[in-house]
């Protein structure tokens, strides 16, 4: 019998559904302990968690979009129109 199946251990399939709760610190302590125990024993899940972390990293570095000159011009016109209308 393989050492994996000991009853109350998480499976990989269960672990991948808990990854966000784990990263968000939302797992109750016993669940977190099971999660950590599984990770310690499972390279596949460590790689999966790493993939999720790298994905979040790339998302966080996406184009910090900036205002274009066109948009700025249009918005200033909008503002001046509002100010004139409001009698300021």
């Amino acid at each position: 019998m393989d050492q994996h199946n000991t009853g109350d251990e998480l499976t990989c399939r269960e672990l991948v559904e808990l990854v966000t709760d784990y990263l968000e610190q939302a797992l109750p302590a016993p669940e977190r302990a099971r999660f950590d125990a599984h990770l310690a024993a499972c390279e596949g899940c460590r790689d999966y968690l790493d993939q999720i972390r790298r994905t979040i990293g790339v998302l966080g570095r996406l184009d910090p979009a900036t205002l274009t000159d066109d948009e700025r011009t249009r918005l200033i016109a909008l503002f001046r129109g509002w100010r004139a209308g409001a009698g300021r």
């Binding site: 019998m1 393989d2 994996h4 199946n5 499976t11 990989c12 399939r13 269960e14 991948v16 559904e17 990854v19 966000t20 709760d21 968000e24 939302a26 499972c42 390279e43 596949g44 899940c45 790689d47 999966y48 790493d50 993939q51 999720i52 790298r54 994905t55 979040i56 990293g57 790339v58 998302l59 966080g60 570095r61 996406l62 184009d63 910090p64 979009a65 900036t66 205002l67 948009e71 700025r72 249009r74 918005l75 200033i76 909008l78 503002f79 001046r80 509002w82 100010r83 409001a86 300021r88």
Partner: protein
């Protein structure tokens, strides 16, 4: 004199001192104050609007309506929330009413709906039930540890990620945009969208799982 917003004052649940100064200046009709707001929030508002509505043209209109709403409402801003949350609330209302006008209200009927109920990982990646080690990986996820950092920074990789986000169901798209792209804390996202913390996590979870899958496909096949 220019009025700048410090990054710290943009978050939080109540306006900081310089936010209040900005609000006061805007009420007096100070153009520099408006520009300071626009420089800080227009681009993120566009990104958030695109998470609500399908096209760039409609998103631009929604954000323009949002700025009009900000100008018209600034006299009544009471500072019970941060300026950022207040502005995004206006955006969210504009986007929803636009969605309703265009009979596209389905995605907004229940932002709490998770959009889909599929598993995070293709079940074929796991050993099937009934076999020894059922539920463990049958094919391991690839290790990304050996990939050069440039692969993650490449324009093409970012395009894959942008594309994956764009095809998510609207509620998932909105949550992952605010949390992981714009860097909002969970509580502010819940407040803006009026969803529970647990619900927010489910949406974020499904969204991240799908974006990861798209990135994995690209990195291993590309």
């Amino acid at each position: 004199m220019s009025i700048a917003l410090s990054p710290q004052s943009a978050g939080g649940t109540s306006p900081g001192t310089d936010e209040l100064a900005l609000v006061e200046a805007l009420r007096r009709g100070d153009e520099a104050a408006f520009l300071a707001l626009v420089e800080r929030y227009h681009a993120p508002l566009m990104r958030a609007a695109l998470a609500y509505v399908g096209s760039r043209a409609v998103a631009e209109e929604v954000v323009q309506e949002t700025w009009i709403g900000v100008l018209q409402g600034i006299a009544r801003f009471e500072g019970r929330s941060s300026l950022k949350t207040w502005i995004y609330r206006i955006l969210s209302n504009c986007a929803r009413s636009r969605g309703a006008r265009e009979a596209r209200s389905v995605p907004f009927a229940d932002l709490g709906a998770t959009g889909d109920e599929g598993p995070s990982v293709d079940p074929a990646s796991f050993i099937p039930p009934g076999q020894v080690d059922a539920g463990w990986w049958s094919s391991h996820p690839a290790s990304w540890a050996g990939l050069p950092e440039e692969r993650f920074l490449a324009a093409e990789t970012r395009a894959v990620i942008e594309g994956a986000v764009a095809t998510l169901p609207p509620a998932q798209r909105t949550v992952i945009t605010l949390r992981d792209i714009e860097g909002w804390p969970a509580d502010e996202v819940c407040q803006l969208l009026a969803i529970s913390d647990a619900n927010q996590r489910v949406l974020l979870h499904r969204a991240r799982a799908r974006v990861r899958a798209a990135l994995a496909r690209y990195l291993t096949e590309g």
